[in-house]
């Protein structure tokens, strides 16, 4: 029971890191970006390649995965994403799904279609049992939870306590007024997009072992990211966090108790929640 809850939380935390960048682009910039999973995949592949071919230690791989995905995000934002901001949602959907298709085929071409195996370092492989086995904690999952918790606190701090955070919130609430006040809205959004992509990359690197990594990753997990954002609402980061935790626990528990149903529970839960609260579960009053 407790073990399930623990695994669910770890899984949810991971989903949160993967999806938080998407909630920023989608909720804040009002851009439907279905290619978000591609950035996560890039992070995952960077880690796998660095570890397997160049023997880079795991802990060093994580920031590199972040940096790689963030750089890619920044380049793409400046070149192809920006002209799409003002287009209708249908165009954005098609554009970003096209990007995702390209990423899938390109990775398939360069890396092969087989699943990549991650070799975790020794100190992350163990497992700790508490209370006579009532709670079993995999060390890697503990590590994921720790990293995600630190990131969540840091994100919350940046958004609510720093100058950049207030500029971002201002740009989001009314970009015209923000620009009029001298806030470089484009740069703020570009930086935010890059950080969001970088977080996806980091999530991909962390999650490669848990979720599996192969070229279909962006399409396979796109739905999960979208669920986190749609269910969590897009106006804060606590919404997606709670949604990710709920989803993670529901998915893990569902797959454990009724394995026959698989992902069925998650989809049904999402549809029910969205019919009940179309703007997301944890949206604040007056928010977008």
């Amino acid at each position: 029971m407790l073990t399930l809850l623990f695994d669910g939380i770890a899984y949810g935390m991971l989903l949160f890191i993967l999806a938080v960048g998407l909630s920023v682009t989608m909720g804040l910039m009002n851009f439907i970006n279905l290619a978000h999973g591609a950035f996560a995949m890039v992070g995952g592949y960077i880690t796998v390649v660095l570890m397997q071919r160049l023997d880079v230690p795991f802990l060093l791989c994580l920031p590199l995965a972040f940096a790689g995905a963030a750089a890619l995000g920044a380049v793409l934002e400046g070149t192809v994403y920006r002209p799409m901001y003002r287009k209708p949602h249908l165009d954005q959907v098609l554009f970003s799904i096209g990007l995702a298709f390209m990423a899938v085929a390109a990775v398939d071409y360069f890396m092969g279609s087989q699943q990549q195996i991650m070799q975790l370092p020794e100190w992350l492989r163990g497992r700790t049992e508490l209370w006579d086995g009532a709670l079993g904690m995999g060390h890697y999952r503990l590590f994921i939870i720790a990293v995600c918790a630190v990131l969540t606190v840091a994100l919350q701090y940046v958004l609510t306590r720093t100058r950049f955070g207030s500029r971002l919130r201002a740009s989001v609430d009314d970009s015209r007024v923000a620009a009029g006040l001298g806030i470089p809205v484009n740069q703020v959004f570009a930086l935010t997009f890059a950080v969001g992509s970088g977080l996806a990359g980091l999530g991909g690197a962390l999650g490669a072992e848990v979720l599996g990594l192969d070229p279909t990753f962006p399409l396979k997990f796109m739905v999960y990211f979208l669920i986190v954002v749609a269910v969590g609402g897009t106006s804060s980061i606590t919404g997606p966090l709670l949604a990710a935790l709920l989803l993670g626990v529901a998915d893990v528990a569902g797959k454990y108790y009724v394995p026959k149903l698989g992902a069925f529970i998650v989809y049904a839960l999402m549809i029910a929640i969205l019919i009940w609260r179309p703007q997301g579960l944890f949206v604040r009053k007056g928010g977008k």
Binding site: I32, M84, F101
Partner: protein, 319 residues
Amino acid sequence: MDARSRLLSASRWRWYEPLLWAVAFALPALLPGHALIVNEIAIVALFAVSLDLVLGYTGIVTLGHAAFLGFGAYCAALFAKFIHPDPLLGLAVGMAAATVLGAVCSVTILRGSDLTRLMVTLGVALLLLELANKLDWLTGGSDGLQGVMMGPLLGRFEFDLYGQTAAWYSLTVLLLLFALARRWVSSPWGATLRAVRDNPLRAAAIGISVPSRLAVVYTLAAGVAGAAGALLAQTTGFASLDVFALERSADAVLMLVIGGVGWLYGGVLGAVVFKLLHDIISGITPQYWTFWMGLFLVVLMLVGRERLSPARWFKGGQV
């Protein structure tokens, strides 16, 4: 011209249209070797027309239209396998089942923004995919539903290996449903759909009931998509999980975008171009078709899809 005759003139058949359809119907006889692809094109064209009703005429952004295609396919296949092999009965069953499903799902698209709709439509398709996968005692799971034997059409015309009967069958269904869809969208009721698409708030203000329009068109379009699915299952004798896949829905959206959104021939034309492109490109690089399709989508969107749409050439720019 008053409003009534304007609506009617839009629905009147032009002189060249029977000609185009005649060519389409002659193709399986003239090029017997290509009857299979004619059949395939007719089916995806029907699917694209169905999506156009929802997306092009009503503005419902959906990525889960394959739910109805797949549901129609599985219902028709199961009906043929376990109850009766007659194709027309099976078609009716597939359509009816998909229509019912559409009516049920229409409650999911009445609330929320584009994003919410995108998510619930996608969610429904994935839900059905998961169901078809897990109910393997009924659907064959990931191996697909095999051994669907169809009886002869109208009791006389056997389905052959070359697909001529299949092609004519699919073309006939396409033509009938196309004509029906055309009646719908050029009726006053169809005009209210476009009003809803262009501005739901304004449409509501002049007394159009927006939720009921959305629900009705979604249900009807689901039935048409179900017919496409039934044709697919019947003419291939097979139903597999990929009928529910995201790629199916994405392909159909792409066809519409190629051919022109909000124009029924757009779906047909897009299906022809898309299928031919698909055949040519997969002939060159069989494995990486998705890359070129992705590239095409990205470039098309950056350039602006309205600039490329053939609907502009035929209708003088007003879509």
